[in-house]
Amino acid sequence: MADAMNVGVNLEAFSQAITAIQALRSSVTRVFDSLKDGMKNKETLEGREKVFITEFQDNLQSVNRDLNELERLSTLVGRPSESHPLHNSGLLSLDPVQDKTPLYSQLLQAYKWSNKLQYHAGLASSLLNQQSLKRSANQMGASAKRRPKVQPSTLVLPPQYVDDVISRIGRMFPDMSIELFRPNGTSAVLLVTLGKVLKAVVVMRSLFIDRTIVRGFNENVHSEDGKLDIWSKSNYQVFQKVTDHATTALLHYQLPQMPDVVVRSFMTWLRSYIKLFQTPCQRCGKFLQEGLPPTWRDFRTLEAFHDTCRQ
């Protein structure tokens, strides 16, 4: 209520101020007009000069008067109220053409959204700080001192040993072919082809699985320059989902002392996707849910579930 009145008073002052500005502008224009026209034609030179100077003085005085008037009014107008939480952008709500340009409502939504985002990001960061997954080498604090002792044994393994472990695992599963590449130095990249269902690119660091990407059987695993494409994700939603689950599996199968067991368990788990399109969900008994087949495989029983049916 007070706000509305305030605005009303301001509006009065505003309109007066605008009139004052107009007056000021016209008087300034008059000054320059008279300067432009120069001296009028009079009999004597002194007469001409006298008339010109008085005219000029009159004009300047009127400019001065108008300017003073404007300054007086400008104090009345006052500063725009800053009590609004959105500051000056809050004035958008006064825009009468709101129906055509819903700027103000959009602005409010964006503001709420960013507030919420900040809140959730804060929660997530505090949660993640509590339970860090402790996979990467650059741990902070006390563990950093102990770490170097553990790492050499598992991270520096002769490439020959890695090759042996992988080929042994490859022989265990006849329907799964595992090719080993070393595109950059000693780290191995595995290309796993599972039946005619999927292809997985598995990036290794020694015998640790670092990252995995799952794509369809008919999708390219090589980029245009002929190298293994370890970055771009599958075009199909099914395999994007399977990639997510495979990443979850990487984090689940952890046994730092016996990395070969981890790789074997992961491959066993991955092999259960051979019937990706053939197995209905073990809970709801259906093949499809939201257009996707059961993409989740239980880590122990390897049973198939939809992502939403697994809890």
Binding site: K196, V197, G216, F217, N218, S234, N235, Y236, Q237, V238, F239, K275, F277, Q278, P280, K286, F287, L288, E290, G291, L292, P293
Partner: protein
């Protein structure tokens, strides 16, 4: 290119072709499918002429699919098939003395293309000499390449919008040895369209219409 199934949809009770298609579109949209442009499949028939030894004339079908706009497919009745460049049509004009275009036999299916997750659904009105004869429904499950693997899954999906009138496993797949997957070109799809067009053509004969 994944596993594709083409089937003919019977008209809904007391509805025209366009009305039935509209009902189907509505069902797909309710399901959450998104419309993505349109498609065309057409088929021209040629009679092989000039074989001296009085054998029954074989038919040659030349088909186009808007999914593969630069190629053209020639299928011999019960025989080999050939994937060629788009200007194969010009060649057929040059071969007029051997293959004669059976005018008025041109069949076409034209309609909208929908995407739902990894499925591609194409609902088309089959027209022959500019009159609508039936409805074709093509469902493709893109991520899978082995028809036998995902057939149950596709059946479940088709049930969700076609109701009880879902087809059996297309004969193109059942006649092949298990595990042979759909080739990258669309021969399997086009063979299914050809069968469907053949059925539509026969259906037209029944009321005794002349072309």
């Amino acid at each position: 290119m994944g596993v594709t199934c083409v089937c003919q949809l019977p008209l809904a009770e007391g509805k025209s072709v366009q009305q039935t298609i509209d009902i189907l579109h509505k069902k797909l949209e309710q399901l959450g499918a998104v419309k993505q442009g349109s498609f065309t499949v057409d088929c021209e028939t040629y009679h092989a002429t000039g074989n001296a030894s009085g054998q029954p004339t074989k038919l040659l079908y030349v088909m186009h699919n808007s999914e593969t706009p630069l190629s053209c497919l020639a299928l011999f009745e019960g025989g080999p098939c050939l994937t060629a460049d788009g200007n194969f049509d010009v060649l057929m004009i040059k071969l007029k003395s051997h293959f004669q275009n059976a005018k008025g036999h041109k069949v076409e299916s034209r309609g909208s293309r929908y995407r739902y997750c990894d499925f591609l659904i194409k609902v088309g009105a089959v027209t022959m000499s500019s009159s609508a004869r039936g409805i074709s429904v093509e469902v493709e499950y893109c991520p899978c390449v082995v028809p036998g693997d995902c057939w149950n899954l596709m059946k479940e999906f088709m049930q969700s919008f076609l109701g009880p009138s879902i087809p059996e496993l297309p004969s193109v797949f059942s006649s092949k040895p298990e595990g042979l997957y759909a080739p990258v070109d669309c021969v399997d799809t086009m063979t299914q369209y050809l069968e469907l067009f053949g059925r539509v053509r026969k259906q037209q004969v029944l009321p005794g219409t002349t072309r």
